[in-house]
Symmetry: D2
Subunit: 384 residues, 4 copies
């Protein structure tokens, strides 16, 4: 490991995502020994100095900063990892690109297409490696789905459906805004479930099934007012609590998407299903090691949905971990993304999804919100 | 059984539904001995005399007719059971009502709202008992869902979603029209999956969750042309192969519906899920004896989706059958509907869904098709 | 149907099994029109005349008898169907055979091997068609399992495991003996779960996997004393509440069997699993339409347990019923058995399991009980 | 983290278990920041120097040794972690205890009870902290099962059943012995599935349900001869390929255990189920985040097996990881065990299972093997 090249990380934001990203960096060397770089936890940044220091101590960051501009300015940092609320992504990313830093940005890329555009421009102009953490692509079962589709197993696709169901905001007592709750504040988040949850579904969908052409959507805000932790006042809730849309994909298949935080009984149930001419695929995040696969070419009396336990060495990423039958978890998807990012640097290839690709997802999100508002179909303008 | 009053059935149409209805009549006495009437299989009607006689012999009908008007005209028939293609429902039902017959009509009531209106008028004017076979309401697990909702277990409802997925029309070689295939002929069926499959989903949904207010839909016909068995010619396919819509219920909850015959791996997968403030419910037709139930009021560390095997004597209809753990099947839903119809006659109450209620389902179907065509939201005008 | 030959049934006993058998006879003509015989419900027999008449009226038996000997003596009866408690099987069956009647006997054949021997001798001497209702063989998914095994899909078999779990006798308040409870009375039943539940598991196992050679067992009676409904006294419980055994099959595979009525949460959960060199199979009674199948010859990255929904026309018996995706239930296994019995009469072949085969199952049951008592391995003497 | 006390680890063996243990040490500080000690990867030991150095580099061990005695002798090592084949456990553990080292030993403790005795004596005499890696206790769902049982939710227990099914040794081409295959070599392993897999089942079982009193077992070796990688010769296979036993627990419940490496379709399927008077519990390793729970006290029409997704902060260990709905994996059970060991050091309490407790498991294993050999029931002598 001694002869590996250092890749020095500056992490901005230390919430839930700050933890998943940091964990990913720390496991890289143990499980991806072939990589030529090793991550170094150079600096972590947030505003609350005391808690920040505790985080740095716990996770092993060498130093702290309370102003993200200082991180971007540091010469001993190679890559900026952005884990802030969404409303800060653009400013940080643009500054980081201008400073010539690589960028790993938590999703969604930005709050709007317009906000995302200069981010894309900046990384492209600077020519810096960049990626957005749509981590679910790298759950092995999901990557296997991609492989089966690319191998032509499904044939022509007719249907794609996905939903992301949660139930954590049902209580009207829950406030909006503030630590851990900025996702409920429209200014900070840009939208509700659309940017937070559907963005994941859309990214996976376009990766697996190509561009989304047009959409027809509806949104709902079930709880109209909540106390805002910032002001202490009861304020109008600006986010969408639920969002449903159907769409056409460029390949002629029909899409159906739904997300809500009001589906009692589902903690974080991201599911998708694809129906093709010859075969179909299903997956869900609660049972993430399993891929359900139906192959119509199986002999007719023996046909059934196969529950594939994706834990074998010949299945995506699984040669890195344990032995057949032994599951990995949610966090490993981040390890895989970071590993792929590191590999892409060595290969000089982009690490998908890049900012450019993540902006396409942004376009769909925006078309969805516009459609819901205007009660009309909207073209997405996606170029996938 | 000797002192039971006869209720003489005239069945029109002897296809798949003719079999399920006949089976229902024949099992009534064995499993619902408390009923005061007994069905008598007086006459069955269809055009192919030879095959009709074979059917009558197999199932025990006393006589046959090749003209439905003759059945309606017979004095020894009390109730007309309509199992013809959809395009004949109206004419037969109106004539039967005018002849003072009770009517049990296979769903959907008609091809359009306009076609349904005089049917409703006719049965109401004649004051004859009438019902439409939306049989899935009477699957015990579905009836149990209704009971839990009516008991207030779910609290305020946020979401209702249903789909009905099949995969039997994927081959372009399949013709349209003719015996067993009239469901693919728009003239005979009135629509594709909307009237055939979504009508079931809509009926259950409004029964469980109240009226549907407005809808936004899309439809698709994947195979544009098929040989028509009537003409032998390749003709344009008029039906919808797939239909997706979202909607508002009168109670403020959001609905999401999908149906297709292009979902590889699903033979007849009707599923629904309801998310309430306190609890959620799921069901699917492939595992019809199970109701999935999540109750948030369970102690937090022990909470989970309960898989209720609906086979106990205190669960709906199950005291009529075997012992706990032993499943009944699809066909029993028809037995239950016929039993309830017979009871309603004894009680002098309507047997839901009546023609009037089924017309409300028709309104949703029509709004859905109109929405898809016009690419705009449509009010349903439903009065539930 | 007019030209079918009558096969006149005399049913002895009208409890739970009396109902399932009668239902089977009544549905035969509707679903198996190709049969050359039609069952006629000639007479039903039990001791309580009033309730017997009600049963006869409900189900359509032409006459009643209160002494089974009268049934056996009647010239207008062709076949005796025995649904009494186990302790009466032998006497009735022997008399029926001597009277030249066909016999359909509910399982288990008898309480002991010794009791079964003259029954076997009697039917063989009389040359009368005979069968024992081990109905689970004729659940379509189970029959499909047999087909896959016979086709060699599994290869060499290593393991067979089965259990039959119930939970209806956990309360110490439950009495033993009397109507509906004779299964808890050792005199009437001959044993507890061994004869009632494991007998099913053993029959299926030997049918699928060949003879059982030797066994090592344990039994337990958790509730030692219960009120006897006959005497009104608290009496020692003679039956086994639970029984576990392992064994060798003749083919070298290992067997593992368990049954209990103290497994909370399981109403009637009969499950089995077979592990072969190339493939494995699982089934359970609560989800009886599904067969789980794992084929190691599937491409490695796509391998998984297939959940086969056994409702297609090319799967066993399913061409007789509805359309793909629509389940049948528990009761249909009896219809299939009666249909197969009728066919066997037409073909002049035995209808498996015959008395002779059912006696082999009896031998395993007896070896199991002996093993538990003697705490030692026992040879079964089975000749399969 | 600066003020944490170092606990310097010497790892002996670097195979599969060497990796899981090392990973556990490395994640401790990130996820269990409250611990007062921090593990230091001081030295790793194995015979192949080159590969050992690569392992040390990859995982971050400070130094290497090729003789385990050197590790035990080092002053800069506080704890010995034993990951060697089973036949070396005793010698190393005794020496380590004598050197005053803490010991964390991979299971099973030893090959025989006799071999284990001096190990237990040594750690007790030395008074050193000791534990054995029966890691499955610390899968959160399994720990939750323990909690529910300890809370009395199940009431009196009637049944305990467990199996551990694999399918990786079905090919006769697979050799025995050597790297990765010492588990197939009876000299190195001491037994086959009994010590490797059933030992896990037995440990969990006694932890959850108390001591096992007596056993009746059978074993089988399906492939009688395999090439030995050490000698290159075809040699008799000494291990048990499959083992089945039933037993009595001290609390009067019945136990049923099975393990095999010939169950096609199961990679590492450890399952257990417990049936109590009021409630039952099921778990399996392939879906390790789920605990199935049936509570008979639920209202009767709503009763069903609950599928508890054990990913909430109030469920065992889960406050350390992510957010509700996001699964952890197999490896985390080791992190939990190491965390508990560290806590036990701080508290001065034993970390269960200790060598003493693990020896009780050994007694059951030995009684099982003796029972199979002698074809008779065997008392275990367990004192739990």
């Amino acid at each position: 490991m001694a002869d590996k090249k250092e890749l020095r990380i500056g992490l901005i934001g230390y919430g839930f995502m700050g933890r998943t990203h940091t964990n990913a960096y720390k496991r890289l060397g143990d499980f991806f020994p072939e990589l030529k770089h090793k991550p170094v936890l150079k600096v972590v940044c947030a505003r609350n100095k005391e808690r920040l220091q505790a985080f740095a101590d716990q996770w092993g960051y060498e130093s702290i900063e309370t102003d993200w501009r200082a991180v971007v300015a540091r010469d001993d940092v190679d890559a900026i990892d952005i884990c802030t609320p969404n409303n800060m992504h653009a400013e940080i990313a643009i500054a980081a690109a201008e400073a010539g830093k690589m960028i790993l940005c938590e999703k969604p890329l930005a709050r709007t297409v317009a906000e995302a555009q200069p981010m894309v421009d900046a990384v492209e102009k600077a020519g810096v490696p960049n990626t957005v953490y749509y981590n679910y692509r790298r759950v092995p079962a999901v990557t296997l789905a991609k492989q089966l589709i690319d191998d032509g197993k499904l044939g022509k696709i007719f249907h794609y459906r996905a939903n992301f169901l949660q139930d954590w905001t049902i209580s009207p007592e829950l406030p909006q805004g503030g630590e851990g709750l900025w996702r409920l504040d429209n200014d900070a988040a840009g939208s509700g479930v659309t940017g937070d949850l559907l963005a994941h579904c859309i990214d996976t969908a376009m990766w697996l099934n190509g561009g989304i052409k047009d959409v027809s959507a509806m949104t709902e805000t079930f709880i109209k007012e909540r106390v805002h932790t910032g002001t202490g006042e009861v304020q109008k809730v600006g986010i969408d609590d639920a969002c449903i849309f159907h769409c056409h994909f460029d390949n002629g298949s029909l899409g159906l998407f739904e997300s809500t935080r009001y589906a009692r009984g589902h903690k974080a149930l991201y599911t998708f299903e694809i129906n093709g001419e010859h075969a179909s695929i299903k997956w869900n995040l609660h049972d993430l090691s399993r891929l359900e696969y139906f192959d119509h070419r199986d002999e007719s009396i023996e046909r059934g949905w196969r529950s594939i336990h994706v834990t074998d060495g010949d299945q995506p990423y699984m040669d890195k971990w344990w032995v057949p039958g032994l599951s990995i978890g949610y966090e490993h998807s981040f390890v895989h993304q970071v590993a792929d990012f590191f590999k892409s640097i060595e290969d000089g290839t982009p690490c998908s999804p890049t900012f450019k690709e993540a902006q396409e997802t942004q376009k769909v999100c925006e078309a969805v919100l516009n459609s819901a508002k205007s009660k009309s179909w909207q073209e997405t303008g996606v170029d996938w």
